[in-house]
């Protein structure tokens, strides 16, 4: 998911200050990894420069100046285009886990341990999401099932790779 497009899309729902936008993003998209304030303010500044959002209100007083941003028609068009376009399928080479297993095999490190460790971490996260699913809102459920299905796909690959390690070793030239 593109963080920038998601932030811009949240502005389309309702104008917001950077602080509010960060919390809306975390609630809707971030899952276990909240976005940094700096990343939100940098994105807002970029939206303004690109004409995708504009400052609709400036609050000044005892606190530092607070700018409220709203999306522009160009910003709405950008979201239209983003939503309408399909994502490029992620290549195996882009997966950090695949890269780690490949490096382990090539360098004679224990690839099975890489898979085992990742499997454990995935299962812990899967358990957390399964628990959260029981009390989630409809919107929350959408995010949880999205992540659950991706974890499940990863785990299937981990299991299959574990069963094929012998063949993978010979394919990658490992001597171990």
């Amino acid at each position: 998911m593109s963080t920038s497009q998601a932030l811009l899309a949240l502005l389309e729902v309702e104008p917001a200050h950077g602080y509010t936008l960060k919390h809306r993003y975390d609630k809707r998209f971030a899952g276990a990894t909240p976005i940094a304030f700096g990343q939100v303010y940098a994105a807002l500044s970029r939206f303004e420069q690109q004409g995708l959002a504009s400052v609709s209100e400036v609050e000044s007083g005892s606190h530092p100046e607070r700018k409220r941003y709203e999306i522009t028609p160009d910003g709405v068009t950008r979201i239209d285009e983003w939503v309408a376009s399909a994502e490029r399928p992620t290549l195996y080479s882009a997966s950090a886990l695949y890269a780690k297993v490949s490096v382990a095999l090539m360098s004679g490190r224990p690839a099975d341990k890489v898979l085992e460790r990742q499997r454990d971490v995935h299962m812990v996260r899967m358990r957390q999401l399964t628990e959260q699913r029981r009390t989630a809102s409809v919107a929350g459920l959408l995010a949880i099932t999205f992540e659950l299905n991706h974890l499940d796909a990863d785990l299937r690959w981990i299991d299959e790779a574990g069963q094929q390690l012998g063949q993978l070793r010979s394919d990658t030239g490992s001597t171990r």
Binding site: M123, M126, L129, T130, D152, Q163
Partner: protein, 229 residues
């Protein structure tokens, strides 16, 4: 660990079908009230292990204590009695008796244990209500949907509040949403009755519902989460 907190204690369990070994020295423990997922590829021995733990098969070697009884030394008759009174089973396809209603199916274990119908009926009906199938309780098991039948199968397995509930691919025939609902009900009710759950599955998403994960391959336990607490 205090042995009284263990509902299952298996040590070096062996089982063969003729010359073919199915379990080659499996050891595991399960604490009272915990849920454990038993995973493994086809032919790994997970169903053989489940059937040994549930007293359906007697192991060729090793020690096996379930719900306080030594299953490796009990007679067939005593194992049957233990299964009836202290254990529950759920299979992939429910295995309800199709000619009986859902209510009659759920009442059956209580009646076999000597409870009169007048007492068994409200208990069974209450459980079917908890599982949200009370409204179809008078329909024949062969005429309800797969999800409804499976929820009734869960009720039948839990109605006598067993010490251990064994589930063999209990949601294998259901879609994901139905599977989640059945598992939520199964584990929630088991938690209330303090039943230990051993669930065989090959699906990670199903295993993630459980407290702990055990993996078996070629009749040997290859990995498991440690018992904690």
């Amino acid at each position: 660990m205090n042995e009284s907190t263990l509902t299952i204690d298996a040590q070096d369990v062996h089982l063969s079908y003729g010359q073919t070994p199915a379990l080659r020295g499996v050891s595991l423990i399960c604490r009272t009230g915990e849920s454990v997922a038993l995973m493994g590829p086809s032919g790994s021995g997970k169903s053989s292990l489940l059937h040994c733990l549930a007293g359906v098969l007697r192991p060729d070697g090793g020690q096996l204590t379930v719900a306080g009884a030594r299953l490796d030394t009990l007679s067939e008759r005593a194992r049957s009695q233990l299964r009836l009174s202290r254990l529950g089973m759920v299979f992939q396809f429910g295995n309800l008796i199709p000619e009986l209603t859902l209510l009659e199916n759920v009442m059956l274990p209580l009646q076999l244990l000597g409870e009169r119908a007048v007492a068994a009926r409200p208990r069974a009906l209450a459980l079917l209500g908890r599982l949200q199938v009370a409204e179809v309780s008078t329909r024949l098991a062969g005429e309800v949907s797969g999800g409804e039948a499976q929820r009734a199968a869960v009720a039948r397995a839990l109605v006598h509040e067993p010490a251990v509930l064994f589930a063999d691919e209990p949601t294998g025939a259901l879609d994901t949403a139905s599977a989640d609902r059945v598992l939520d009900s199964l584990l929630g009710l088991a938690r209330e009755t303090g039943s230990t759950v051993v669930l065989v599955t090959h699906e990670n998403r199903i295993a993630a519902h459980c407290d702990r994960l055990l993996s078996i391959r070629d009749g040997v336990m290859v990995a498991h989460d440690a018992v904690t607490g």
